[in-house]
């Protein structure tokens, strides 16, 4: 419990640090000190409301605390160009990003774990000699480039998938859940998910492979072998279970990390997610929206780091026992 609290504080402090960096970054920008929240696109009433809400006429240190207070209440200001609360815009696109990330990660990790275990099994064969550099190459390729190649091959050339967006034009849905559950949405989702999964599978694959190789030399595996269990049973029941631990933690970390990397995938496929929103907001200098999108990504990252810490403690008792004392 003490340890959980310690990890929570650690991640919360990291998030606070990110918010602080962001606060000063947006105030060191060219333009007036008001530029972070006020723009001539907003009407006089809206400008006045922002001035009061964020205390923009007060000293910097007061502004900082007002800003933090506002963030805790989910007040991110008004978007300059959409002229409505940033939070609403963020919540609209967040499900799209989460669905993309989770679907890709689940596919990548299922494939990566199985293929990694299999490659450990095939140690020393020609398959290993070809597969390992090939997997490294997928890790080395820019995500958006994988997307471009798949887009050219499977969408423009073969015509199997739409080339972008999340829904076909002209379709109407009664609510968001119906839209997400529709065949059309899944059809649009397929190619971005395939791209991201292809990029992400390398980490669990290589991790699983090296863990398996290590575990296979441990005493309890030798013991199982001496008991006369079949090789298959040893791999599944004894080796794989222990080799999986770090992979599970990597999954949680992966959710946070890939939310940041989605910026490029979402742009390639015009996927209406939080990463594309950030890119658009930065390029038109919509500061409140850019800040909000950045913080949302940072929040998911911090949350997932915390979840990874928790998983690590739950799954590997040595960690908590070692430190409890």
């Amino acid at each position: 419990m003490k340890l959980i609290l310690e990890r929570f504080t650690h991640n919360a402090l990291a998030l606070l640090a990110v918010t602080t960096i962001l606060f000063f970054m947006f105030r060191l920008m060219p333009g007036t000190p008001l530029a972070a929240f006020i723009n001539e696109n907003l009407n006089a009433d809206q400008q006045q409301a922002m001035l009061e809400q964020f205390g923009l006429d007060r000293p910097m240190w007061q502004q900082y605390f007002i800003y933090l207070g506002n963030l805790v209440q989910g007040e991110f200001g008004l978007s300059f160009f959409q002229r409505r609360p940033v939070l609403n815009i963020l919540l609209e696109v967040l499900p799209n990003s989460l669905i993309l990330t989770l679907a890709s990660l689940i596919i990548a990790y299922i494939f990566g774990v199985l293929a990694g275990a299999w490659l450990a099994w095939k140690r020393g064969s020609w398959i290993e000699r070809v597969a390992v550099p090939a997997v490294l190459a997928t890790r080395a390729a820019p995500e958006f480039w994988i997307g471009m190649v798949l887009l050219a091959l499977l969408s423009f050339n073969a015509g199997w998938f739409p080339s972008g967006g999340a829904s076909s034009p002209g379709l109407a849905y009664t609510n968001n859940w119906q839209r997400i559950a529709s065949w059309d949405y899944l059809h649009h989702l397929a190619l971005p998910v395939l791209t991201l999964a292809l990029y992400l599978q390398g980490l669990p694959l290589l991790l699983m492979r090296s863990n398996m190789l290590e575990v296979m030399h441990e005493e309890f595996v030798t013991m199982a072998r001496m008991k006369g269990f079949s090789e298959w049973r040893i791999v599944i029941h004894h080796a794989a279970r222990n080799a999986l631990l770090p992979v599970v933690t990597a999954f949680a970390l992966g959710v946070g990390l890939s939310m940041g990397g989605n910026v490029v995938i979402e742009t390639v496929f015009s996927w209406p997610g939080i990463g594309r929103l950030l890119v658009q907001a930065v390029s038109v200098h919509d500061y409140p929206l850019a800040q909000g999108a950045f913080l949302m990504i940072a929040l998911v990252l911090a949350l997932m780091n915390f979840v990874a810490d928790l998983l690590y403690m739950v799954l590997d008792p040595r960690v908590s026992h070692g430190r409890k004392g």
């Binding site: 650690h10 991640n11 990291a14 998030l15 640090a17 990110v18 960096i21 970054m25 947006f26 920008m29 550099p133 490294l136 190459a137 890790r139 080395a140 390729a141 820019p142 995500e143 958006f144 480039w145 471009m148 190649v149 887009l151 050219a152 423009f156 050339n157 080339s163 090296s210 190789l213 290590e214 946070g256 990390l257 939310m259 940041g260 990397g261 910026v263 490029v264 742009t267 390639v268 990463g275 950030l278 890119v279 930065v282 390029s283 850019a290 999108a293 950045f294 990504i297 940072a298 990252l301 911090a302 780091n305």
Partner: protein
């Protein structure tokens, strides 16, 4: 590991820098993967040095066919090995000249990451206490920033220039190397030869930079090799998103240009496949080299 008989007392006299350098230079000759990595680096460095000879055409020059028409979207031929862009620019020339900007971005980021990471790791690990606590908290902070979004916001606001991209990458990558080097220093400072140097009255800074730092060098090199690849991928991603340096022809610029000019729907694979393959080659070369150094100098990590 020892190649020659060590003295009975584990006190190493003299400067460890030269033997470490000799072992570092010999490593790629023993490991085929690392050798391949080194070969790829050498190849790209040669291409960057002789870019003007390999591709005499200006990569941004608008070209015309012999009939006097704009040479737009010409398929690969003897005149244009990779064809031309929709504005009649030679793709091969862009690819060759892009090597320069890729290496410039990669090497400058790698040098900053290696120097900052090494110095911070050495100071934090050796002196401990307040310096250690403060430096490691700053490292935690940098690591909790989402990587690509931070680079985008920074270059979006500070201006889209190559140096800002390098700065952003270096700001986010040094903590990884600093942490690992710090933990290595923690074990090195307890070694007998460091103790011996201390007894003979060597100053802290002398021990740190003359006796410990050379042993850390392979680690700095590992992180530098990884940083080269990261910086190149990041530059490509940022350029692709439209926040790149509009003055320089880089692989990322080429991919962005191809994407926004509908090269994908026209199936101009010769335009957008080669830059991606070049990026993969440089990044994989970094993986291979760093893996080789890890196995030789940090045998604990072997097999990972």
């Amino acid at each position: 590991m020892a190649e020659r008989a060590e003295p009975v007392l584990p006190v190493r006299t003299g400067w460890p820098l030269l033997p470490v350098l000799r072992r570092m230079a010999a490593m790629p000759l023993r490991d085929p993967f690392a050798f391949t990595g080194l070969l790829i680096y050498v190849l790209f460095v040669l291409v960057a040095l002789f870019a003007d000879q390999l591709a005499p055409i200006d990569p941004l020059e608008i070209l015309f066919t012999k009939a006097g028409k704009l040479a737009a979207n010409v398929p690969p031929s003897l005149d244009f090995p990779l064809g031309t862009t929709n504005l009649g620019r030679d793709i091969y020339a862009q690819l060759v000249h892009g090597t320069r900007s890729a290496l410039a971005v990669g090497l400058s980021a790698a040098i900053i990451v290696a120097i900052v990471g090494t110095v911070v790791g050495l100071v934090a690990g050796y002196f401990g206490g307040m310096a250690d606590a403060v430096l490691m908290r700053i490292a935690d902070m940098a690591l909790s920033l989402p990587f690509l979004p931070f680079v985008i916001v920074l270059t979006g606001f500070l201006g889209a220039s190559t140096s800002n991209i390098v700065l952003a990458v270096a700001l986010l990558l040094w903590p990884n190397s600093a942490r690992v080097i710090r933990s290595q220093v923690l074990t090195l400072r307890e070694r007998a030869y460091v103790e011996a140097a201390r007894v003979t009255g060597a100053s802290s800074w002398r021990i740190l930079f003359v006796h410990i730092a050379p042993n850390i060098l392979p680690l700095s090199f590992v992180y530098a090799a990884i940083a080269i690849g990261w910086a190149i991928i990041t530059e490509a991603s940022v350029s692709f998103l439209g926040f790149g340096d509009s003055e320089s022809v880089s692989w990322g610029y080429m991919l962005q240009d191809a994407f926004s000019s509908q090269a994908l729907s026209r199936g101009q694979y010769a335009w957008f496949v080669p830059p991606g393959v070049c990026i993969i080659l440089v990044v994989v070369a970094g993986f291979f080299l760093s893996r080789g150094y890890e196995e030789v100098f940090m045998p604990r990590l072997r097999g990972r």
